[in-house]
Amino acid sequence: MTTTEHHAVEHHDEEHDHPSDGKYIQIALILGVITAVEVALSYVDVGKLFVPALVICMVAKFAIVAGYFMHLKFDSNLLTRVFVSGIVLAIGVYIAFLGSLHIFS
């Protein structure tokens, strides 16, 4: 089997792995629940856990949308690497930028 054929078979298989409409609705409900938790956290005093809890919720929502709705979980790993490279580069550059201006101190 040639490389092209191999990729074609992989792509064909991946297409069948995509979730059903019902699964997408379940995923959206989970996203809605996480958003509700985020908003609730703004009204409840959780002390030092406030920021970490919000960041965890944000990362979870980001990962769910990117993984399931953008199909990164099912598509070629190359796409994940391209996207994650952009995210890591942005986070690295701007943490260095904000750090140099003593924003975290």
Partner: protein, 204 residues
């Protein structure tokens, strides 16, 4: 018929013979989205920087937030991602009617979000925070305004897709075009997920 030929017949748009097995259009969109992370990273960082400064005129931005209102807007945009993915699933099935229904629903939800953002800007302006009133306001309007422009461009793409579908130029063989519009739309959504948390919920 080889496996590659069979797949090409089933999915003509994926028939490009690239070394990655991915179409150039899809890969290009992901590279573009990766670069957009740097754009929005810069805008969010600038906002975080200027949020720490004491406003010399006008109100502080955090005094004006209406969290319940913005939460509803965020939920609307989040649900538009669901309708978008349902549109992609519909066109892959060859279901033209539902493709158009979900694309239109996504565009309407997006328009509701943009309308909500314009209303929010109007309220903030009436409260005394103009674009040049203080650094916080400038950074806030630039960040959320840029995002709003991205959503608006997404709506144009969605409506264009609906028109193409009505003219019979968006059959199942071109499902990847809708998928690529969807990638852009979901990206706009994930950017808002970050903005909602970092800008609105985590306040100094």
């Amino acid at each position: 018929m080889t496996v590659a030929e069979h797949t090409s017949a089933a999915h003509p748009t994926t028939a490009h013979h690239t070394s990655t097995g991915l179409t150039n259009e899809k890969l290009a969109m992901w590279v573009f989205l990766g670069s957009e992370c740097l754009l929005f990273g810069g805008l969010i960082s600038t906002f975080l920087l200027y949020r720490e400064t004491e406003p010399k005129a006008g109100p502080a931005i955090s005094e004006l937030y209406d969290i319940p209102y913005t939460s509803v807007s965020s939920f609307v945009l989040l649900m538009s991602s669901l309708t978008m993915v349902l549109a992609v699933a519909a066109i892959k099935r060859g279901d033209q009617r539902n493709t158009r229904v979900w694309l239109m629903t996504t565009a309407l939800l997006g328009a509701s979000f943009v309308g909500g953002q314009i209303y929010e800007f109007t309220v903030f302006y009436r409260e005394g925070l103009g674009y040049t009133t203080n650094l916080q306001g400038s950074a806030f309007y630039t960040l959320t305004g840029f995002h709003g422009v991205h959503v608006s461009l997404g709506i144009v793409m969605l409506l264009s897709s609906v028109v193409m579908s009505l003219r019979g130029r968006l059959g199942p063989e071109r499902s990847e075009a809708v998928e690529i519009v969807g990638l852009y739309w979901h990206f706009v959504d994930v950017v808002w997920i970050v903005i909602f948390t970092v800008v609105y919920l985590i306040t100094p």
